[in-house]
Symmetry: C2
Subunit: 329 residues, 2 copies
């Protein structure tokens, strides 16, 4: 059997995104596309926010998780699935597994937000924890998968996960019509790659951007170097984007279809959380603010343009949320 | 000229709600209807939340305000409008006036949330403040209106305001189909009366409920007494429902079409704010939680039913919000 790391993986296509849209229909929420005259006035653009914080499980990750599990052959799926995740993918796999009647094991960092651990267990999944600064979650996940006969559903580097995430851009563009720009949040690249597949087909000519935390700019470095660059685990409040390298599947899609990757600071993420709470009445987690933070803080030239922005999730401990959005005293 | 207080006012009808829907189309947001499996599991019901915290101006009040000003004859409107309001009506009148190119004066309590005062001024309105515990805002508002030739747009007891608020129920039922119950927030009764007009026509047989703060139960007392009962200004965190009596127009509509009026405590409102923030990722102001608090805290028998719930607004100071939703330490 070929080493899966060395093999060239098959890249998903727009047809896979369309198939994912059919699988998740009536199961995933068709989340609202929100507008804000205040944000438009701040930027001189027409902004369309895809509110995936209102998705089932509190984040876009449910799309890819459900699609990946639903696409498994029945006999494989019946044995159960395993996932390693900094949080939202875990909840998504746990929820999707419950809906599909499949056992699930979730490998989570021991410092993941408590709300995410609790909700994951609440969905009926078994949680195994690890130290994200000393252990490799992929190695641990693969070991447990092999020992128990489970199918590993990686958080981003998987064709059906990527295709599932792409359905959010499909819905967005169905509602807004053609866009000039689409700005996505970037961790491992599942959202950005999936959205790029969908948007390039449904809004030809759209310029697609990914946004990372400043401290975790492996995506930007990789994009400009033309090869996957690995970084140490970044320290950032954007816990969903603490990835250290883009995937073997996400990177070639991103490299081929994305216009650029930019970064924002943690302070800009906090400002954006406050903006969402005070002006748009939304609870958005730090990672979920990445794309909006880049647009609202002038990292991209959006003036006069129709811009889609992904709000990727809202899973933040209520105590952390209150602390972060409270005005400085 | 007849004394307007003694005259029997004309009651709005469903036709007025339908006319309001045409006036606000493309100006007001058609807010999303959100669902939550968690809330459904807690109550055994199918709950449909109409998210008016995502409305322009941050609350349902924009519907009635815009409709009332747009319905004025051109020559009357040109002189300008005046409103007295505990907050959201003020912002709504200020915003609608700006959109319609009309001067606006807003009479606000001096202890109104600072965010509401600032946003009202930001929309270009002139703000006049008063002491809500010693001065009668209606008297003050009428004096200024007469002195300056402005048209007074009251916050709830006005046919076009009521008709405008009813459009939210029209949209809700268009999206959900027939409902068994519709639960609205109750201050002066504009929302409840308007929703009752719309729902009785579009979902015959629906049972309509109003929800008030415990400390401000003038609506419940009036409903059960069969006449308008006036109470002292209630002390409650639901600042948008600190009304002291139902209107001459709202009361007969409510009396004729509403099944019952129930109350919730401030503690239940805070619990509900936390629920919205942590599970539905929404910022909702205390007053906006009234209807949901009654359903989530067992004040109404919703099991097995399809229930519409109005989330009326999200205009809460971010500091107050953070303080209220932060877990007790």
């Amino acid at each position: 059997m070929a080493d899966p790391v060395a093999a060239t993986p098959a890249l998903p296509t727009f047809a896979d995104v369309a198939a994912a849209a059919r699988r998740i229909e009536g199961v995933a929420h068709r989340t609202p596309v929100l507008t804000s005259r205040t944000a438009d006035a701040m930027t001189g653009a027409s902004l369309f926010f895809k509110a995936e914080n209102l998705q089932r499980g509190g984040a876009f990750k449910f799309r890819g998780a459900y699609n990946a599990i639903a696409a498994l052959p029945d006999e494989v799926r019946a044995h159960g699935v395993i996932a390693f995740s900094s949080g939202n993918h875990a909840q998504a796999i746990a929820l999707a597994s419950r809906l599909l009647g499949v056992p699930a094991v979730i490998v989570m960092p021991e410092d993941a937000p408590q709300v995410k651990v609790e909700v994951t267990r609440g969905y009926g999944a078994e949680v195994v924890t690890y130290d994200r600064y000393s252990q490799d979650r992929e190695v641990l996940g693969r070991e447990i998968a092999q020992a128990r006969g489970l199918t590993l559903i990686p958080p981003y580097d998987h064709p059906e996960v990527i295709a599932g995430q792409g359905t959010l851009a499909l819905e967005l563009i169905e509602e807004t019509g053609p866009l000039d720009m689409l700005v996505a949040c970037l961790g491992g690249g599942g959202q950005l790659a999936g959205c790029a597949l969908a948007a390039a087909e449904r809004s030809p000519g759209v310029a697609i951007y990914g946004v990372e935390p400043e401290a975790g700019d492996d995506g930007r470095r990789s994009f400009h170097a033309g090869r996957v660059v690995t970084i140490p685990v970044p320290r950032t409040i954007a816990d969903g984007a603490q990835t250290t390298y883009l995937g073997q599947i996400t990177f070639p899609i991103i490299r081929g279809r994305v216009a650029d990757i930019v970064t924002v600071s943690d302070a800009e993420l906090v400002e954006t959380m406050r903006f969402f709470a005070s002006r748009m009445k939304l609870v958005v987690e730090p990672t979920g603010c990445l794309a909006a933070a880049a647009v609202l803080h002038g990292k991209l030239d959006v003036a006069g343009k129709r811009v889609g922005i992904v709000i990727s999730g809202g899973n933040v401990d209520i105590a952390s949320f209150a602390r972060l959005v409270a005005p400085a005293t």
